[in-house]
């Protein structure tokens, strides 16, 4: 079961890296210039340092996830992956001063519960 333990640790690291990536990506997306057309938008994204930094973090977390998936079932790792939603909600309030209405907090809790339940299933 050391493989399973290692997978869980790796996925936990993924959630923290992934939440940090979302902060950079949101900051970069908000700062994007308003251009028209699909290609100009993609080019604007590719020249945004914040987006590139965010996706570097995201890429690193994806590589860790791939390594974790080699030894663990996708469904087993769901509950831990779901923690990302909690980190992002907390950081959205702290970093971007977004207002979390009670309905939204409840919604995030229900989503995390749903994702966790997916992982409880035997396969």
């Amino acid at each position: 079961m050391t493989d399973r333990r290692r997978s869980i640790t790796l996925v936990l690291a993924c959630t923290i890296l992934g939440a940090a990536a979302q902060m950079l990506i949101k900051s970069g997306a908000t700062a994007l210039p308003h251009v028209s057309g699909f290609i100009p938008n993609v080019l604007a994204m590719l020249s945004s340092p914040l987006l590139l930094a965010g996706y570097s973090f995201y890429g690193l977390s994806t590589v860790l996830l791939v390594v974790a998936l080699k030894h663990g079932e996708l469904s087993m790792l769901y509950p831990i992956i779901a923690l990302t939603y909690v980190w992002v909600a907390i950081l959205s309030v702290l970093v971007f001063h977004e207002h979390l209405s009670p309905l939204r907090v409840a919604g995030v809790v229900v989503i995390v519960g749903g994702v966790a339940i997916l992982g409880r299933d035997k396969f």
Partner: protein
């Protein structure tokens, strides 16, 4: 600050595209070997990365306006599709437990979406020609 419906639509579409990334990453991961030749030949892994990159374009377009605390939870809609692909491509069983999890995710996303006030002025980042503004 309000979150436009168009942003929610873009992020939801990104989640759909991204679910193909998850499926191909899983297919590639089960065949993963840490040799250069094996990694270079692992086209499933490469395709998985491509789908994630492609989906992120829609995600970032959606994030240009609106709140992260509303839009990020919509990424969970990808699980709905991932479960479907797991059933179709990997033969994983679609049990009552999984269906219950799916139902909760959908209800949660609906709650998060309804928990935001909407400003009609910022609705519709898509113009009539379907191009992104």
């Amino acid at each position: 600050m309000a979150t436009p419906l168009s942003s929610m639509a873009l992020v939801s579409f990104g989640a759909f595209i991204g679910s193909f990334g998850a499926a191909f990453l899983k297919a590639g991961a089960t065949r993963l070997q840490f040799t250069v030749a094996s990694l270079a030949r692992n086209w499933r892994l490469a395709l998985g990365v491509f789908f994630f990159c492609f989906s992120s374009i829609f995600f970032v377009l959606g994030l240009k306006e609106g709140e992260l605390s509303v839009l990020y939870p919509m990424v969970s809609l990808g699980y709905v599709w991932t479960l479907l692909w797991s059933r179709i491509f990997f033969g994983e069983r679609l049990t009552m437990t999984k269906l219950a999890g799916l139902a909760l995710i959908l209800i949660g996303v609906l709650m998060v979406g309804l928990g935001t006030e909407r400003d009609p002025a910022v609705r519709g980042a898509l113009n009539p020609s379907g191009q992104v503004r």
